[in-house]
Symmetry: C2
Subunit: 345 residues, 2 copies
């Protein structure tokens, strides 16, 4: 076969989720120790004691962060947080991380120290041990690969696949702020590039910018579930946006859902900022991503327990699959919810 | 402080091991579940059942591999193997991996399929489940980050730190071949770049090139240890070269060692190839790296068990720390063994 005959399919044609499904299709789990493999926020392994919950993420300069506005210390913090968030999304307690970095020689030891300062602050804040990693050079740019490990008794783990018709759909915190924080940082970068004497005006945008630069993992929700003896029927962290992540739950659980637009928590500053950018606030919440809030479903019998949780909002309900996944707008209309995924390619 | 005052230390000044020590210095393990953190081939965690042994490695295009001569399928295979090797080096059985990749859009879906074919072949050969990962785009090049997880009862695990004076120093397989394989591939690449009509002459170099492109993890040694009730007092995999890796054992164990040059296993083809390249074969074995053989120490009482192992060579002995780490040359001289580490920066 000559080179011209080799078929060439652009990765972009499959998209993120299509590519993952395509690649995962060739693998079957055979080990008895593997309880859950690809297809959730984390894998679940059974080594005879408490289940081992494992998740991993890659952060690439120029794709996931821009060092013009992501200070290295914040970046180190965030890199740990996004992984802890995946463990929390399984209703497990994160306990250890490994951190691998590839760095070009344009980074000084002092710069790497900044990055690791942020990693250490995150480890201390969440009581996490850094137990390993790899350090190597890169031809250009900075890459961070983190694996987080945690645990909780098997019967308490929450998968994407457990949502049942009639379950209540809930989310922690607020949505869309991290995306709007990113838009502000991008705007200020363009202003700076056009005129390096201009100083960024971020003091009034602290909340939104902070949500982008220094997200938190919702460990307190996992702790609350423990204390109140509540186990979500399904859970995922909102990393790709409410729409994508709700669709993941619905697909894995074989159900539909509706979301009440009026109930989706959007911070006042996010709402105002969206309007300033001529964006629809609900679109930012649905498709923005990087909020690292927890989206979860509970049995209606647990409704009262959810009502007592701090910063938790009931935003909808799980429905039969044939009803689809829809948004009930404040104006009384019903729109299908569609995924954005990432479009990096 | 103005920017000029910010101290700038080049990463190269610290070197690989210096940088790792520097970065790890800021972290203390506090969790009772963390038995061993940074400083060995893998971390060891105790979640109440069998210990969980975790290792992670980053492979970066242009640093660890060159796609001109590392076919994607071989690369996928090798990426898994180097991580399994770390688990074997703890005298543990590897059981799962997570695989994260970052790829630029110059790669087609078919190319990524090749990579994953190699990953799958390695998983099948070693009975490993692929349980997770991350897939993202990169601004340029290919990066692979793999985390391997395995286990063995706590009392069977072998650390770098357990070597005692009088222990016998052993190594599996042969050393230096992977490095010489790489030199052949580099030479053929230069020939090809100078004249693209020239076809590489690799058919006579299959063994050496194969050792570079398709290494294996020494799982059969771990299985033999199990069967023969032998627990190495210390173990490490030879990824950086015999010199570096022996120094790791000696430093962690607080001992010295001597290596008998005449006993170091070097394949005939490696010996001939080294001479063709005007290199000293023992230097290739000491500093070449990427052999992924196991270097281990055993109590003298276990000498007979070691003698019965296939492809295991007794190359020296552990000595008091003050004797240093030395090579007894075939010519009767004593040379200090020094580390090379990597010099990517």
């Amino acid at each position: 076969m000559s080179e011209q005959d080799i078929p060439r399919t652009d990765i972009g044609e499959l998209g993120e989720f299509g590519l993952i499904d395509h690649l995962a299709g060739g693998f079957k789990n055979k080990r008895k120790e593997t309880i859950k493999g690809i297809g959730d926020d984390a894998a679940v392994l059974d080594y005879g004691g408490q289940p081992v919950v494992v998740s991993t993420d890659l952060l690439i300069e120029g794709i996931h962060f821009d060092l013009m506005y992501h200070p290295l210390k914040h970046l180190g913090y965030k890199a740990v947080i996004v992984n802890l968030s995946d463990i929390c999304a399984m209703n497990a307690i994160p306990k250890q991380v490994t951190v691998s970095i590839a760095i070009s020689n344009r980074f000084s030891v002092e710069a790497i120290d900044e990055l690791y300062d942020g990693i250490r602050v995150a480890c201390e804040a969440y009581d996490i041990d850094l137990v390993g990693g790899d350090t190597t050079s890169s031809p250009s740019g900075l890459m961070i690969s983190i694996t987080a490990i945690g645990s909780n008794p098997m019967e308490k783990l929450a998968y994407r696949s457990g949502a049942k018709v009639g379950d209540i759909l809930c989310v922690t915190g607020d949505l869309g702020s991290a995306y709007l924080g990113l838009q502000i940082l991008e705007r200020e970068k363009q202003v700076f590039l056009a005129n390096p004497d201009m100083q960024p005006e971020l003091s009034e945008k602290k909340y939104l910018v902070g949500r982008q630069l220094k997200p938190e993992a919702r460990l307190e929700a996992v702790q609350y579930f423990e204390k109140s003896n509540l186990i979500p029927t399904a859970m995922i962290d909102v990393s790709d946006g409410l729409a994508s992540d709700l669709l993941h739950i619905c697909k894995a659980s074989g159900v539909g859902a509706f979301v009440e637009e009026a109930q989706v928590p959007i911070h006042d500053e996010a709402r105002m900022q969206a309007i300033e950018f001529k964006l629809d606030p609900i679109t930012c919440a649905l498709s923005g991503g990087e909020d690292y809030e927890l989206l979860f479903t509970v049995d209606p019998k647990d409704l009262e327990k959810v009502r007592f949780m701090n910063s938790v909002y009931i935003i909808g309900e799980i429905t039969p699959k044939e009803d689809g996944v829809t948004l009930h707008t404040s104006g009384g209309q019903i729109h299908p919810v569609t995924a954005q995924g990432w479009k990096h390619f």
